[in-house]
Symmetry: C2
Subunit: 371 residues, 2 copies
């Protein structure tokens, strides 16, 4: 869901921003076509209002490449392959590049066989999950994308973080409505939202995060401090603490996504992502993804599917509203509206991120032309 | 998750119960092998503690068959078929029989191609979702099962019910641990839980259900009364009211499952399930399902996968517990323990359901031998 603005953002033209980010990655030895993919993915996140996955991540990615934890040149090799199932090894390459190639392969094979799922191991953070699911739309396919991620979420009845916010994205094509795009993390809120409450010294609603005893807490500063120092507690799964509100379902979904990525691909899972080596030094993250494509032609007539989906989405949007509300949204709708808006007037970038981009530009000798 | 007992249940041997239920269905012209499938599915629900989907449903199913809304003889025809994608039409047959055949087809085709998904239209209530996902395990496959269902859930910011509790089940095989089995409805709680609070005149926690204005309410009697009279309000999606606790994610998941079943198969979706005809009379429900199988061999070595999953599940169960808690569960664990217990000492059946079974037995001339 698009993030709320803090109103001190600097607005930057999306195309210029993409060119700049691509130039940065090219400078650290990423091949130009791959640099463009990463840049496009980061700017796509900002355009959809998901700034936590936008250019705010540039510094971390560049550092990863410069430290050698992320390989600048992404080579994907095939570990196993059948008509509708593949496992790829990304050999610590860029998550975006690996996931895009995996999705291209899923699409190509779904075109022949109707459906294909591709799992990827030894990859890295792949940005917004929806990016790859969206690739399926122009092929009249339903696109699937999920990934495991750094442990941040406490399992139901647990004290310490043990699973990631592991997102799931599925996109389905329409004819006249904007496509259906579900892109959701399996925690109640992302870490970034807790950080906003910390910065604003506001009390969080119950069910977002837990403290070092495993109880839900409204104290954002304590949660972040505990996370940094690994003292216990962290984000709560969708459904919150315990089982009363369905927290075990959010935890179950997070675990499911890890089973379909980390466990299926044979990479890292749970607490093993971003785990340091025995010498205490950082190792490659070993993130894993699952990408999939379902060709509508395999199940029937694509146009008829799209008409049905249009009708359904219109029915939901036109349904009676709760008191005090004017709109019912369908998955992806807010992001599409954000994209329309930000494509015209630029994307909002936090001043701190602008400062970091300036520093990176100076450091690497890349022209900074975004003022 | 296994339901809490009310301690007035009558304990019945699972094998005898299955035979009785199969005899009932055979009596209303269901072929013996299909009658056994429905009976096995209902008793499997009771064995797993999910009594809302167990023999308590016998009356509704038998009535559906006798009224001609559910065809006693289930004929599935192929609407579309490729190597890894199929659409079946169940022609108003029994949901259990149609879903089982669809899953058998998915498994057979996944054996050749690595993955296969089969969508089904013009079907009926298929019982517990996990039943079909579990079928994949003995083939060293990951099993998928989802279905749309009668509208009971209010979309985020909506007033009226517009989507079902649409469950998702995924099962994955293990070597020494019990298999991973996620089986979850996409509402915070099922309707049955609201009915328990109504019966006990207890106030429900916030976020379970909404009233006729669209606001969360603790008044269970009001929610049930509103549902019966279609006056607005209903169950809330996983994450509760509005977006603050992620209710839009639960709503998005419910919609996703309907897109992958109702919309993909070309059957009914949303408010159109169980919709009466223009004459006001009941029509076939037109429930739709999606069943899928992913062959572990398509992605690598099945034994290595199972060892990894064992390790992961053990890590989670062994992780530090929240204060006041002794166990962290993994998806399916509670149901496996319930199954072990109820397989030995019988399944608990509500006295009202026992009364109904006696009546059905007398009415149809089937011997009632469960005392």
């Amino acid at each position: 869901m698009p993030e709320a603005l803090e109103n001190n953002e600097i607005w930057i033209d999306a195309n210029k921003l993409r060119d700049f980010v691509a130039a940065v990655f090219t400078r650290v030895d990423v091949p130009p076509e791959d640099a463009w993919v990463v840049a496009d993915n980061l700017v796509a996140a900002d355009l959809r209002g998901v700034h936590s996955h936008g250019v705010a991540r540039l510094e971390r990615y560049v550092k990863g490449v410069r430290d050698g934890l992320i390989k600048a040149r992404t080579e994907c090799t095939v570990v196993a392959e059948t008509a509708a199932a593949v496992t790829l090894d990304a050999h610590d390459g860029l998550g975006q590049v690996a996931a895009k190639r995996a999705m291209e392969l899923a699409i190509a094979k779904a075109k022949v066989n109707g459906t294909c799922f591709v799992t990827v191991r030894n990859s890295n953070h792949y940005g917004i999950a929806a990016y790859y699911a969206l690739m399926a739309l122009e092929h009249d396919m339903i696109g699937w994308s999920m990934t495991n991620s750094a442990p941040l979420v406490v399992p139901t009845f647990g004290r310490d973080i043990a699973v990631g916010t592991n997102p799931l994205a599925v996109a389905a094509p329409t004819l006249t409505e904007r496509p259906f795009v579900l892109d959701m993390a399996t925690s109640t809120v992302p870490r970034g939202k807790v950080e906003v409450y910390q910065r604003k010294e506001k009390t969080m609603p119950a069910g977002w995060a837990s403290d070092e005893t495993g109880k839900s807490t409204g104290d954002a500063a304590r949660v972040i401090d505990n996370l940094v120092k690994r003292r216990g507690g962290g984000l709560l799964p969708l459904g919150g603490e315990g089982e009363l509100y369905g927290g075990h379902k959010g935890y179950g979904l997070s675990l499911l996504i890890d089973v379909l990525s980390g466990v299926l691909a044979g990479g890292a899972w749970g607490t093993h992502l971003y785990e340091p080596g025995p010498d205490g030094k950082a190792k490659p993250a070993n993130v894993c993804h699952l990408l999939g494509a379902m060709d509508l032609r395999g199940f029937g007539d694509p146009t008829a599917f799209k008409q049905r989906l249009d009708t359904y989405l219109r029915e939901l949007k036109g349904a009676p509203k709760a008191e005090g509300h004017q709109r019912i949204y369908v998955a992806g709708e807010k992001e599409w509206e954000c994209l329309d808006d930000y494509s015209k007037r630029g994307v909002p970038v936090h001043p701190k991120t602008v400062g970091t981009m300036r520093f990176i530009a100076g450091d690497l000798g890349v022209a900074y032309n975004l003022d």
